[in-house]
């Protein structure tokens, strides 16, 4: 089942979040790994900021996306 909701078919349970400055609509009840999977982002190579605060990877599973959440997802960089 897809959690992505098209703009023309938003149910009352849909929520709006920002992901790297882009607005996306989701059905409620989706957790962070679900969000990343939906966006085709490999969870193993990114870190995530939720509403200005780093969300440690160990808490991703228990964290549900809420309406108005602002997410920033970025790749780990190791070059020097």
């Amino acid at each position: 089942m897809s959690h992505k909701i098209s703009a023309s078919n938003r149910s009352e349970t849909s929520i709006k979040v920002m992901l790297n400055d882009e607005q996306i609509f989701l059905s409620s009840g989706l957790n962070v790994p679900g969000l990343l999977q939906l966006q085709n982002i490999a969870a193993s190579s990114v870190a995530l900021v939720r509403n200005g605060q780093v969300l440690p990877k160990s808490r991703w599973k228990e964290t549900l996306c809420r309406d108005g959440d602002q997410f920033e997802v970025f790749a780990l960089v190791a070059g020097g």
Partner: protein, 271 residues
């Protein structure tokens, strides 16, 4: 002890700052700092610190200079190709800044030498290009209680933050943000980088480090990311991961060796 007349003149623009003064300059003279990785970031951080009058610098890198390093590793030139980065940087900086006591370590930071190399450092800079070494530096800094300023750059992305479990335990450590099983998709070798992109991040690293050495209040617990295309900085508050394999088990307790895992548990990254 006071600053000599010649040094007063040399460092006058620093001493002029109310936050620095002669006391601050003297603090820089007294500092011993380690820079791990003498590539793009390490070249510039080392030069800024040596030029500013930091008393003692230890440069650690087992890499040798290659042609493809020259566009961004500005201490090196064609005739240095094949030489050790750490030894060459020490030679050049010692000539330019004789007041700075520079030491080169041409070994890779590893399980065998990490404690000896980083113990007693007032500050450690992570300027490496290798995820495994970054994890090892983080672990060692926690153990020897040295503040760590870690920066990384690839493509048009830069990241910088400070780790100091003594002054900011709630902000966690490097592994809280990037656990050891993370997958690195971006290195300078794989995605390229422009010299000034490295320069921006190295300047931030050197500035943050100098402020720290000078006792100027620094913003702790902040992750800063730079987008070199959009010319945009973003900041986020760091969080400690209570399940972190490096620092997670030590929440309310004083630091001790036994609570920090052996580094053999950490992954070793490639170049």
């Amino acid at each position: 002890m006071s600053v000599s007349n010649a040094d007063f003149l040399r460092y006058s623009r620093q001493i002029l700052l109310p936050d620095v003064g002669e006391t601050g300059q003297f603090d820089l003279f007294q500092a011993h700092v380690a820079i791990v990785g003498v590539g793009g970031l390490g070249n510039l951080v080392a030069q800024y610190l040596a030029a500013a009058g930091v008393g003692k610098l230890t440069l650690i890198d087992d890499d040798k200079i290659e042609l493809s390093n020259l566009p961004r590793q500005l201490l090196f030139s064609d005739k240095d190709i094949g030489e050790y980065k750490s030894a060459t940087a020490v030679l050049k900086l010692s000539n330019a800044y004789p007041g700075c006591n520079l030491q080169a370590v041409t070994d890779k930071l590893s399980e065998h030498n990490r404690q000896d190399l980083l113990a007693h450092m007032e500050l450690v800079f992570d300027c490496t290009d290798d995820f495994g070494t970054r994890q090892l530096i983080n672990l060692t800094c926690l153990q020897v209680k040295a503040p760590l300023i870690t920066a990384a750059v690839a493509n048009f992305s830069g990241q910088i933050f400070m780790v100091d479990m003594e002054s900011a335990p709630d902000s966690g450590c490097y592994a809280c943000l990037f656990p050891q099983d993370s997958h690195i998709s971006q290195t300078c070798q794989s995605v390229g980088v422009l010299g000034p992109m490295v320069g921006v991040m190295a300047s931030m690293q050197a500035l943050l480090g100098m402020n720290l050495l000078l006792g100027i209040p620094v913003p702790t617990g902040k992750l800063l990311r730079f987008d070199g295309r959009a010319m945009q900085w973003r900041e986020a508050s760091l969080s400690r991961d209570l399940q972190c394999h490096v620092c997670g088990g030590r929440v309310e307790q004083p630091r001790s060796q036994s609570q920090i895992p052996d580094s053999s548990l950490l992954c070793e990254g490639g170049h």
